[in-house]
Symmetry: C2
Subunit: 244 residues, 2 copies
């Protein structure tokens, strides 16, 4: 038995999230189906974490075990011809038997893509949140600072979800602008359900002037979801990288 | 009766091209259906030219006539809520009654997007040609020069198509690189069927070393389609702009 780490990319658009669900198309189901065919045994993959329905990944990490010998350097090329076109293996490497894609993940970075357009954007609609409002980017950048650090992010979680430990650490949150595109990068030790989409929506609301940058402090302290900004849609969200 | 010029954007992915075809989804059919509903009369649109199945447009231009009065400045906002999400009106303006979107077009610019990736690219697959080869970009840039000017481009046309006048003028052809993305822009007074996709494929073949930049001269002179490079797929092609 040997353990392997795969870095994978996917367009989450047509999937009901990463995790296997009876009868529904999911990234895990496709990946396990193809790996099981390839290795002629039942392969189970363990991801660094689930992604929700419609969420994309540039570098999701999973591990799996097999006794079969194979060349890891060419594995991506061959397995990608078997995978659906909206899932691809970026790289494959052998790891120690006790490596765990989920428990060993130290940091995760998510990217949220916003397109600032005054009109509908047919060519970006599948991969961006389209924002019709004028945004004060400087205020948004100022607001980013208040998220950084260890906080109880209960307010920035899907309402009514039960979760005991809602304390997370955000190491970095910053915004890059490229023309009409706005890229929000957030790095943390873990994220609550919908946390990145709520942070992105709250930053947009700051940019629109609905909140002041300093209001973030109170929002976090309130621990109440109703105090935050909008939860943005899944299609703009990308799992960008996982660090071990 | 007054004439209006619309600039429109579309994701051609699910359409059988621009032009109306009985029972098939086309951009023209959707646009005419929505405009006819909006104006409560039968609206026919005339484009600057057709685009093929799967080809996108950033700024296609069409004209149409109506007697109804309306506010052109807000027209895009309102009509876009009626259009499918993969078609949008960028702008609307009143033009003289003898303006013709097709016959008055002086220059058209197409953009062809290539992603240079060693692996499959799930998140770009719908909007780029994915090129797995190493390319010599300088050779491709050199090859561009040989296309510029007035030439008989019969070799750069869908094979076996009947067409009398295959002389076209290319005013500009250049390549922009941004990271792993390669953008081929070509401006001309008009283009033959598949011409841009064959030019793009031929440039890639020059980059791969299958042809030398100077071979373009012979290819054009040959007037034979078999001499050119590959015709690239529709999904990387965008009608970028039309000048009047």
């Amino acid at each position: 038995m040997a353990r392997y780490k795969l870095t994978i990319c996917y367009d989450g658009g047509r999937y009901y999230g990463f995790q296997r669900q009876n009868g529904l198309p999911t990234v895990q189901a496709e990946l396990e189906r193809v790996l099981s065919t390839r290795f002629q045994e039942n392969i189970i993959v363990q991801p660094s974490g689930r992604t929700d329905a419609g969420v994309h990944a540039l570098n999701q990490v999973v591990h799996f075990d097999t006794e079969k010998q194979f060349d890891t350097s060419s594995f991506g090329y061959s397995i990608n011809t078997m995978l659906p076109k909206d899932i691809a293996v970026n790289s494959c490497e052998r790891v120690s038997d006790d490596f765990h894609a989920r428990f060993d993940a130290k940091k995760k970075t998510y990217l949220y893509k916003v397109c600032l357009s005054k009109i509908h954007s047919p060519l970006k609609r599948l991969y961006y949140h389209i924002c019709f409002y004028d945004l004060d980017i400087e205020k948004m950048k100022k607001a980013c600072q208040f998220f950084i650090g260890e906080h109880d992010f209960r307010a920035f979680m899907l309402a009514d979800e039960e979760k005991e430990n809602t304390i997370r650490t955000i190491y970095d949150l910053h915004i890059d602008c490229e023309g009409e595109d706005l890229f929000i990068y957030v790095t943390g030790n873990g994220f609550l359900h919908n946390m990145v989409r709520i942070i992105a929506g709250t930053l947009i609301d700051v940019g629109r002037g609905r909140f002041a940058p300093e209001d973030i402090i109170q929002m976090i302290d309130s621990k109440r979801h109703v105090m935050t900004g909008k939860t943005l849609e899944a299609c703009g969200l990308y799992l960008y990288s996982v660090e071990y």
